[in-house]
Symmetry: C2
Subunit: 120 residues, 2 copies
Protein backbone atom coordinates (compact mmCIF):
# COMPACT_ATOMS: atom_id res chain seq x y z
CA UNK A 1 0.00 0.00 0.00
CA UNK A 2 1.85 2.96 1.30
CA UNK A 3 5.21 1.94 0.06
CA UNK A 4 6.55 5.39 0.53
CA UNK A 5 6.22 7.22 3.74
CA UNK A 6 3.26 9.52 3.48
CA UNK A 7 3.71 13.20 3.53
CA UNK A 8 3.54 14.13 7.14
CA UNK A 9 3.76 17.15 9.31
CA UNK A 10 6.34 16.68 11.99
CA UNK A 11 5.58 19.75 14.02
CA UNK A 12 1.94 18.71 14.10
CA UNK A 13 3.00 15.36 15.38
CA UNK A 14 5.06 16.90 18.14
CA UNK A 15 2.35 19.29 19.17
CA UNK A 16 0.20 16.21 19.63
CA UNK A 17 2.76 14.58 21.85
CA UNK A 18 3.35 17.40 24.28
CA UNK A 19 -0.07 17.51 25.92
CA UNK A 20 -0.17 13.75 26.07
CA UNK A 21 3.11 13.78 27.89
CA UNK A 22 1.71 16.38 30.28
CA UNK A 23 -1.26 14.19 31.01
CA UNK A 24 0.86 11.13 31.56
CA UNK A 25 3.11 13.02 33.93
CA UNK A 26 0.23 13.68 36.28
CA UNK A 27 -1.07 10.15 35.92
CA UNK A 28 2.27 8.47 36.27
CA UNK A 29 2.65 6.07 39.12
CA UNK A 30 1.16 2.68 39.49
CA UNK A 31 -1.84 3.71 41.55
CA UNK A 32 -2.98 7.19 40.59
CA UNK A 33 -5.72 6.18 38.24
CA UNK A 34 -6.95 3.51 40.58
CA UNK A 35 -7.30 6.05 43.33
CA UNK A 36 -9.17 8.41 41.06
CA UNK A 37 -11.48 5.65 39.93
CA UNK A 38 -12.17 4.62 43.49
CA UNK A 39 -13.03 8.19 44.41
CA UNK A 40 -15.22 8.54 41.36
CA UNK A 41 -17.51 6.04 43.06
CA UNK A 42 -17.80 8.21 46.15
CA UNK A 43 -15.74 9.76 48.87
CA UNK A 44 -13.48 7.46 50.78
CA UNK A 45 -11.46 7.24 53.93
CA UNK A 46 -7.89 6.01 53.97
CA UNK A 47 -8.54 2.49 55.13
CA UNK A 48 -11.49 2.10 52.83
CA UNK A 49 -9.35 2.86 49.84
CA UNK A 50 -6.64 0.58 51.01
CA UNK A 51 -9.10 -2.28 51.10
CA UNK A 52 -10.62 -1.36 47.79
CA UNK A 53 -7.41 -0.99 45.84
CA UNK A 54 -5.93 -4.42 45.88
CA UNK A 55 -2.26 -4.61 46.67
CA UNK A 56 -1.56 -1.01 47.58
CA UNK A 57 0.44 -0.37 50.73
CA UNK A 58 -0.20 2.43 53.20
CA UNK A 59 3.03 4.02 52.13
CA UNK A 60 2.11 4.15 48.48
CA UNK A 61 -1.46 5.21 49.12
CA UNK A 62 -0.24 8.04 51.28
CA UNK A 63 2.35 9.12 48.75
CA UNK A 64 0.06 9.05 45.76
CA UNK A 65 -2.72 10.83 47.64
CA UNK A 66 -0.32 13.61 48.48
CA UNK A 67 0.75 14.03 44.89
CA UNK A 68 -2.82 14.00 43.66
CA UNK A 69 -3.72 16.57 46.26
CA UNK A 70 -0.84 18.78 45.21
CA UNK A 71 -2.14 18.67 41.68
CA UNK A 72 -5.59 19.52 42.94
CA UNK A 73 -7.09 16.34 41.63
CA UNK A 74 -8.39 15.32 45.03
CA UNK A 75 -9.29 17.01 48.27
CA UNK A 76 -8.57 15.93 51.82
CA UNK A 77 -11.16 16.95 54.35
CA UNK A 78 -10.88 16.62 58.09
CA UNK A 79 -14.13 16.40 60.00
CA UNK A 80 -13.46 17.05 63.64
CA UNK A 81 -16.12 14.73 64.82
CA UNK A 82 -15.49 12.26 67.58
CA UNK A 83 -13.43 10.44 66.50
CA UNK A 84 -11.89 12.55 63.77
CA UNK A 85 -12.81 11.45 60.28
CA UNK A 86 -10.67 12.13 57.27
CA UNK A 87 -12.26 11.88 53.91
CA UNK A 88 -10.88 12.09 50.41
CA UNK A 89 -12.91 13.28 47.48
CA UNK A 90 -12.45 14.12 43.84
CA UNK A 91 -12.29 17.79 42.96
CA UNK A 92 -14.04 19.14 39.91
CA UNK A 93 -10.73 19.08 38.25
CA UNK A 94 -10.21 15.47 39.16
CA UNK A 95 -13.59 14.68 37.73
CA UNK A 96 -12.54 16.17 34.44
CA UNK A 97 -10.53 13.02 33.89
CA UNK A 98 -13.65 10.91 33.52
CA UNK A 99 -13.54 10.99 29.74
CA UNK A 100 -9.98 9.73 29.74
CA UNK A 101 -10.85 7.00 32.17
CA UNK A 102 -13.92 6.06 30.23
CA UNK A 103 -11.94 5.59 27.05
CA UNK A 104 -9.23 3.65 28.82
CA UNK A 105 -11.93 1.48 30.28
CA UNK A 106 -13.61 0.94 26.93
CA UNK A 107 -10.41 0.07 25.23
CA UNK A 108 -9.26 -2.13 28.06
CA UNK A 109 -12.51 -4.05 27.96
CA UNK A 110 -12.20 -4.68 24.22
CA UNK A 111 -8.61 -5.63 24.68
CA UNK A 112 -9.37 -8.09 27.43
CA UNK A 113 -11.95 -9.74 25.20
CA UNK A 114 -9.38 -10.04 22.45
CA UNK A 115 -6.84 -11.58 24.76
CA UNK A 116 -9.31 -14.11 26.05
CA UNK A 117 -10.25 -15.18 22.54
CA UNK A 118 -6.60 -15.76 21.70
CA UNK A 119 -5.55 -17.69 24.74
CA UNK A 120 -8.13 -20.36 24.11
Amino acid sequence: MAMLTQKHNKSECKSQMLPVRDALDILSGKWKLHIIIALSFGNRRFKEMQKEIEGITARMLSKELKELEMNEMIKRTVYDSQPVIIEYSLTQYGQSLNKVIEELHNWGTQHRRRIMRKSK
Copy 2:
Protein backbone atom coordinates in the same frame (compact mmCIF):
# COMPACT_ATOMS: atom_id res chain seq x y z
CA MET B 1 -21.45 18.05 51.92
CA ALA B 2 -21.12 14.34 51.93
CA MET B 3 -20.00 13.98 55.47
CA LEU B 4 -20.66 10.31 55.42
CA THR B 5 -19.21 8.09 52.81
CA GLN B 6 -21.78 7.53 50.17
CA LYS B 7 -23.22 4.15 49.61
CA HIS B 8 -20.98 2.57 47.07
CA ASN B 9 -20.56 -0.64 45.23
CA LYS B 10 -17.12 -2.04 45.70
CA SER B 11 -17.32 -4.79 43.15
CA GLU B 12 -18.46 -2.27 40.59
CA CYS B 13 -15.48 -0.17 41.41
CA LYS B 14 -13.11 -3.07 40.97
CA SER B 15 -14.67 -4.14 37.70
CA GLN B 16 -13.90 -0.64 36.51
CA MET B 17 -10.30 -0.93 37.54
CA LEU B 18 -9.46 -4.20 35.85
CA PRO B 19 -9.82 -3.14 32.23
CA VAL B 20 -8.04 0.10 32.96
CA ARG B 21 -5.17 -1.86 34.36
CA ASP B 22 -5.16 -4.01 31.24
CA ALA B 23 -4.98 -0.96 29.05
CA LEU B 24 -2.19 0.58 31.07
CA ASP B 25 -0.22 -2.64 30.91
CA ILE B 26 -0.03 -2.44 27.15
CA LEU B 27 0.69 1.25 27.19
CA SER B 28 3.25 1.11 29.96
CA GLY B 29 6.69 2.33 29.11
CA LYS B 30 7.82 5.83 28.56
CA TRP B 31 7.58 5.81 24.80
CA LYS B 32 4.75 3.57 23.66
CA LEU B 33 2.15 6.25 23.22
CA HIS B 34 4.58 8.53 21.50
CA ILE B 35 5.38 5.85 19.00
CA ILE B 36 1.72 5.21 18.37
CA ILE B 37 1.06 8.90 17.93
CA ALA B 38 3.93 9.26 15.52
CA LEU B 39 2.62 6.36 13.47
CA SER B 40 -0.88 7.78 13.53
CA PHE B 41 0.51 10.55 11.36
CA GLY B 42 1.77 8.12 8.79
CA ASN B 43 4.08 5.19 8.35
CA ARG B 44 7.62 5.68 9.47
CA ARG B 45 11.06 4.21 9.21
CA PHE B 46 13.28 3.64 12.19
CA LYS B 47 15.47 6.68 11.84
CA GLU B 48 12.53 8.89 11.07
CA MET B 49 10.88 7.98 14.31
CA GLN B 50 14.05 8.43 16.23
CA LYS B 51 14.29 11.98 14.97
CA GLU B 52 10.65 12.67 15.57
CA ILE B 53 10.47 11.35 19.10
CA GLU B 54 12.73 13.62 21.02
CA GLY B 55 15.08 11.91 23.43
CA ILE B 56 14.46 8.30 22.55
CA THR B 57 17.50 6.10 22.04
CA ALA B 58 17.80 3.40 19.42
CA ARG B 59 17.76 0.83 22.15
CA MET B 60 14.48 1.99 23.58
CA LEU B 61 12.86 2.54 20.23
CA SER B 62 13.79 -0.96 19.18
CA LYS B 63 12.55 -2.44 22.43
CA GLU B 64 9.24 -0.64 22.47
CA LEU B 65 8.60 -1.34 18.80
CA LYS B 66 9.07 -5.02 19.46
CA GLU B 67 6.63 -5.01 22.31
CA LEU B 68 4.06 -3.08 20.34
CA GLU B 69 4.48 -5.49 17.47
CA MET B 70 3.97 -8.46 19.77
CA ASN B 71 0.74 -6.92 20.93
CA GLU B 72 -0.26 -6.39 17.32
CA MET B 73 -0.50 -2.67 17.72
CA ILE B 74 1.96 -2.02 14.94
CA LYS B 75 3.28 -3.82 11.90
CA ARG B 76 6.81 -4.07 10.60
CA THR B 77 7.11 -4.36 6.85
CA VAL B 78 10.24 -5.10 4.89
CA TYR B 79 10.33 -3.89 1.34
CA ASP B 80 13.13 -5.61 -0.50
CA SER B 81 13.88 -2.70 -2.66
CA GLN B 82 17.41 -1.50 -3.25
CA PRO B 83 18.31 -0.65 -0.57
CA VAL B 84 15.98 -2.50 1.72
CA ILE B 85 13.39 -0.30 3.36
CA ILE B 86 11.75 -1.16 6.63
CA GLU B 87 8.57 0.59 7.49
CA TYR B 88 6.43 0.61 10.59
CA SER B 89 2.72 1.21 10.50
CA LEU B 90 -0.24 1.14 12.84
CA THR B 91 -2.52 -1.86 12.59
CA GLN B 92 -6.27 -1.52 12.77
CA TYR B 93 -5.98 -2.55 16.32
CA GLY B 94 -3.42 0.10 17.04
CA GLN B 95 -5.70 2.65 15.48
CA SER B 96 -8.42 1.67 17.89
CA LEU B 97 -6.49 3.59 20.50
CA ASN B 98 -7.23 6.90 18.86
CA LYS B 99 -10.10 7.69 21.19
CA VAL B 100 -7.91 7.14 24.20
CA ILE B 101 -5.20 9.31 22.75
CA GLU B 102 -7.66 11.98 21.78
CA GLU B 103 -8.97 12.24 25.32
CA LEU B 104 -5.49 12.24 26.78
CA HIS B 105 -4.63 14.99 24.36
CA ASN B 106 -7.71 17.01 25.23
CA TRP B 107 -7.14 16.71 28.91
CA GLY B 108 -3.45 17.39 28.61
CA THR B 109 -4.14 20.53 26.66
CA GLN B 110 -6.54 21.83 29.27
CA HIS B 111 -4.13 20.91 31.96
CA ARG B 112 -1.27 22.71 30.33
CA ARG B 113 -3.37 25.82 30.07
CA ARG B 114 -4.18 25.58 33.75
CA ILE B 115 -0.55 25.18 34.69
CA MET B 116 0.47 28.17 32.63
CA ARG B 117 -2.15 30.36 34.26
CA LYS B 118 -0.87 29.40 37.70
CA SER B 119 2.80 29.83 37.14
CA LYS B 120 2.37 33.46 36.17
